[in-house]
């Protein structure tokens, strides 16, 4: 098993190389660009034998993959923010057509004003699209979850597109040692090429996406919903198998110091590092705090998370998204998980790190003080 010093973006490119897709298409946008440049290099050097379609927009990037996947190709693209929104229409087309496309989303704030720094609002905008959604908090996780995405997406019980999100710059451009998978073992983990039947074949003319009357439309949507429910098992199995292949174990989320915790923070992405620092600091002072790092966002692990948070008095969601007039998407999902298990925990929904604002352990200690001192406000923003 080799180790390389890689940025989050290069880790994604290496995972794509190792997954051996047939067609990659992409359009540049900061901070995603190095991924597609690296993949282009792999293809030019012959390290990856795939077709690279240099499209003229993100809308076309996803459309090209829809065309490619509909005839049976394994595919990849990546984008961010404005690019994802420009692609938005066809993102739904991919999931509705049940095409196992894999995508990286390097999370970036949305304009105006222009911002190239991280925020998860672009990622959350896809939460109802039918895509399976992972979030990685380090380059290693980007590599691992990109590979895991292929297994989940192409699982015959699922056949839904799958994406991995990670933070702009804090993960996309930061170098870390990344352990690559052993290629022989990886081949046993990834589904064999051609393991799913392409929807369009000249020998068996069928059609994909034509007009559906209400009764047929809802059938298609219900089937998607069932697939998304089955995806939970598929994800769990894929994660278990991945750990037996690589030795790195993952689950829907990681729960650190949760057992006896009165207060549990829930985070997604690179905030994890400083949150862990804060939790360790609080533990050293004898405070009973724990930390959840969420990896699997869709399908959302309501039952598992609700169970893990059952003993907590306070659950503090730290979400990196501009939200107006409601809870953060992550906060709302965690609130549902708590309510569905009828837990007693009080929820605090805190928005922080919007548009790349640095989040320090001290900020999280401040949130903790506020939660303890003045429990009456359940949601607020931290600058």
């Amino acid at each position: 098993m080799s180790r390389l010093l890689l940025t989050g973006n290069y880790a994604a490119a290496y995972a794509v190389r190792d997954a051996e897709p047939d067609v990659v298409s992409a359009y540049p946008i900061t901070p995603q660009t190095p991924i597609i440049e690296k993949i282009a290099e792999f293809i030019e050097s012959g390290e990856l034998s795939a077709k690279f379609v240099r499209v003229e927009s993100e809308h076309s990037a996803m459309a090209a993959l829809i065309g490619a996947a509909s005839v049976g190709a394994r595919t990849y693209t990546a984008t961010s923010s404005q690019g994802l929104f420009y692609m938005y229409e066809v993102v739904w087309w991919a999931s509705g057509a049940r095409l196992p496309i894999v995508m990286g989303v390097v999370t970036r704030a949305l304009g105006p004003p222009w911002s190239i720094w991280t925020e998860h609002s672009d990622f959350y905008a896809l939460r109802d699209s039918g895509w399976n959604m992972f979030f990685a908090s380090s380059a290693q996780e980007v590599y691992d979850f990109t590979l895991i995405s292929y297994r989940v997406a192409e699982d015959s019980r699922v056949l839904l597109p799958t994406l991995v999100g990670w933070d702009a710059f804090e993960v996309s451009h930061t170098y870390e040692p990344v352990a690559l998978a052993d290629m022989d073992k990886l081949r046993s983990f990834l589904p064999p090429k051609g393991s799913w039947k392409p929807l369009l074949e000249a020998s068996e003319p069928g059609s994909l996406g034509n007009l559906a009357y209400p009764d047929e439309y809802i059938k298609v949507r219900l089937e998607m919903r069932r697939a998304s429910e089955r995806a939970k098992n598929a994800v769990e199995e894929a994660l278990r198998l991945y750990s037996s292949v690589t030795g790195r174990s993952y689950w829907f989320f990681d729960c650190i110091l949760c057992e006896d915790a009165d207060t549990v923070f829930v985070v997604q992405g690179s905030v994890f590092g400083e949150a862990l620092r804060a939790v360790e600091e609080l533990r050293s002072r004898g405070e009973k705090v724990g930390l959840v790092k969420l990896w699997v966002y869709r399908p959302f692990p309501f039952g598992e998370l609700g169970r893990a948070l059952e003993g907590a008095k306070r659950v503090v969601v730290l979400a990196r998204a501009s939200v107006f007039g409601s809870l953060s998407p992550l906060g709302a999902d965690v609130a549902s998980a708590l309510k569905l298990r009828e837990t007693q925990a009080k929820l605090f929904d805190v928005v922080l790190g919007v548009g790349g604002v640095d989040v320090k352990a001290e900020d999280i200690l401040g949130v903790y003080r506020k939660v303890l001192d003045d429990g009456e406000r359940s949601f607020w923003w931290v600058r």
């Binding site: 795939a50 499209v55 076309s60 829809i66 065309g67 369009l200 009357y213």
Partner: protein, 299 residues
């Protein structure tokens, strides 16, 4: 020219949902006969996405990817690359309306042309957004009535074939449902050319949109050619040539007056004599340019 026998095989099946007299359907029937069974159709939002009939059935005996309005050429790009990579044979054909081609889909079409993707892109031009109820598109002719130009379109029809030819693609051609042999010939030629995108612009009369009796479709299609409003031509590797009956129309006296074409359609019924004269002048001017182009090429 050798007599060309039309294939008997039908790929557009009975039970499709087109209006009676739909020019697009006539065209598509002949296009699919010309291309045969190894044809993948990519169809954006347009009348044809409805003509195909409702999910899970389809009136087309070839595989069809229905795709978002702006995305057809890009989806075809990905499909071509994937078939190539997977070692599967097949023609990849985009079949799109004028709105989906000259307006919202133009960016993707231009991209696919510039990348040299081996696609046959056919725009059936019914000169408005018909599926949503006859609104003006970038291909609506000067003065034509539509629901968004109730007094007649003040603008001019975008010349997309010329724009496509400027992309240096190997083949650009126009077709018309009144001339099925010409369709067969041009489509077969296009499918034989492998390096790059082939762009075909098709004249596509539409009875409800143009306000005429469905029995007149072929007559109107022929009049469009005979009056010189619609020109049958090819641009092969940049070389322009008139084809079929359009060849003899370079002589003005061979062209019928445009009023014969305009008069039979309700969408032009509000035209004054000055409007008709103006349209005649524009058509004559267009033919002068064609004449220049041809003599330029002869030099």
């Amino acid at each position: 020219m050798a007599h060309r026998v039309f294939p008997r095989e039908e790929y557009l099946l009975k039970g499709h949902a087109a209006c009676p007299g739909c020019g697009a359907t006539l065209l598509l029937r002949h296009v699919l006969k010309a291309l045969g069974p190894d044809t993948y159709l990519v169809i954006p939002a347009c009348c044809t996405s409805v003509i195909a009939g409702p999910h899970p059935r389809s009136a087309f005996k070839v595989p069809v990817l229905h795709i978002a309005f702006a995305a057809s050429a890009a989806a075809a790009s990905g499909m071509v690359e994937a078939l190539d990579r997977l070692g599967k044979p097949g023609n990849v054909v985009v079949w799109a309306g004028d709105g989906g081609t000259v307006d919202i889909g133009l960016q993707a079409l231009s991209g696919a042309a510039e990348r040299g993707h081996n696609i046959i892109y056919i725009c059936y031009d019914n000169e408005a957004y018909m599926n949503t109820g006859i609104q003006k598109s970038g291909s609506t002719p000067y003065k034509a009535w539509t629901t968004t130009t109730p007094l007649g379109n003040p603008g001019f029809k975008k010349d997309l074939p010329s724009i496509m030819a400027a992309h240096r693609i190997p083949y650009v051609a126009t077709i018309n449902p009144a001339y099925p042999n010409d369709i067969l010939y041009k489509l077969r030629k296009a499918s034989g050319i492998k390096g790059g995108l082939k762009y075909i612009h098709a004249f596509s009369p539409c009875p409800p949109g143009w306000r005429y009796d469905p029995s007149l479709t072929v007559k109107i299609a022929r009049l469009a050619v005979e009056t010189g409003i619609w020109v049958l031509y090819e641009v092969e590797d940049g070389r322009f040539s008139l084809t079929g009956p359009s060849r003899s129309l370079i002589k003005k006296e061979n062209r019928k007056p445009v009023s014969e074409y305009l008069r039979v359609q309700g969408r032009f019924s509000h035209l004054t004599q000055e409007d008709v004269d103006e349209i005649q002048r524009l058509v004559d001017e267009q033919w002068e340019r064609i004449e220049e182009l041809i003599s330029e090429e002869k030099k």
